[in-house]
Amino acid sequence: MQRRRGVKKLLHVALGIVTSFGGFLEAGSITTSIQAGAEYGYSLLWVLLVGTICLVALIEMSGRLAAMSHHTIAGAMRERFGLRFFVLPLVGVVAVSVLTLAAELGAVCIALQLATGVSFQWWAVPVMVALWLLLWRGNFGVVENGVSLLGLVTVVFLVAAARLHPTVREMAAGFVPSGAPYDASRYWFLAVSILGATLTPYLFYFYSSGAVEDGWEPDDVPANRFVSTFGMGFGATLAAAVLVVAALVFMRGARLESFDQMAPMLTDALGPWGFPLFVAALGIACFGAALEVALALAYMIAQGFGWNWGENVRPREAARFSVSYTVALVLAAAPAAIGLDPLRLTNVAMALNAACLPLAVVPFLVLMNDREYVGDRSNSRLGNAFVLGVVVLACVLAIVSVPLDLLGG
């Protein structure tokens, strides 16, 4: 009996790592990595590293919160801080998540445009309906895992990077924090975008929902640490691979203005298959991310207000919850439907994610130090200081660099 439980747990951990890996890339991480690689070569790799370490810490914290308190982040925030304060991070994270959802949806439409030649605008409503149907009729867990496993196609970036034989020494230099080799405002804008794309709040809010639903207990904390570190860590290597390929394939300093220009990037390494593989990777990764953001949004609202929520709940049993993700999807489809450039939208969404981070993360950090919620497994001083530092840095950079980039660009 013990052995069977042990095997089951092992499988669960393995699934967790594989789905984190397959589900890591999405519109924000893909576009920011491509832009960073094309314009600055390897010199922004250190930002990806810092962001990833911070993400691993935040994901681990959400799992720990769920295991120790049986609360999700949103649920705990409402209970701990009261309604009046809670409204602030709620509105902030929801707003930024709807924007992110719009970016994911837009990217899926672009992938379809690249595949079929039909303009992305026409795809907005069909993609929205497809997403909605999967949530309406499907078992979330199956849908999520299924799409994340399909998302393993993004491994093509890793393959392409390997085939291009990057110089290890040059790459390693990129992991050392450095200043801008030129055009500082653009450099820091991209740095902020990478942080925003890596640290999108919906990720860890959603993770805590899954953990609560799976009924995590304090004993699950070590396994949680393992999954978050390796799942997210491996996932980040994919983002790094995208950056490396872009650095090697595009002319240094090339400012890519549309997905059309980015699409051929795999052909150098993978030949004629490169283009369809890019399209598939982009489309599937962003579709999966869209499902996750929509669910995360609806979960957050339901948890904050105490409504019914969950993986296997039929729409009729959780009416308000179902309506939440429906409304979010409709709002998210609007920008693509009216023809707003998905690339521009993605850049804006990622920068705003970064700007909103303190609001999303600081109350969470307070919870992680409150013994009533995490018992004796509260955060270490180093953990607090590091996460707080990254989050504040991201916000300050966002406030400073976004206007500069808008003025300069």
Partner: protein, 102 residues
């Protein structure tokens, strides 16, 4: 029946007998007695927003021994006059009210 809402009481500024603001109501403690929930005391947080935030768990973790001490007083139910629900008033001097250990 005179009613007051907990959610409006929490966070409300409390004045002393001379009309000066001394702090805010941070918590209300009640005891279960004969199936009723009877209010026994209020926790009064002295100091402004900065002081209240500064004493939080996160700040204590970051600053360790340098974190400021929160100042809280216990106000027995009969020491708080709620006849004007918008302006709760202490009926006893602050100095007489016991300090609460953190």
């Amino acid at each position: 029946m005179a009613e007051i809402r907990l959610e409006h009481l929490l966070g409300r500024r409390v004045i002393d007998r001379r009309g000066r603001v001394v702090g805010r109501i941070e918590e209300v403690h009640a005891e279960r007695e004969d199936g009723e929930w009877i209010v026994r005391e209020y926790v009064l947080g002295v100091g402004g927003l900065v002081e209240r935030l500064a004493a939080g768990d996160l700040v204590v973790s970051l600053l360790g021994g340098f974190a400021p001490e929160p100042q809280r007083h216990i106000v027995p139910w009969d020491a708080l006059d709620l006849s004007d629900t918008e302006r709760p008033r202490l009926t006893r001097p602050l100095a007489e009210l016991p300090r609460r250990a953190a």
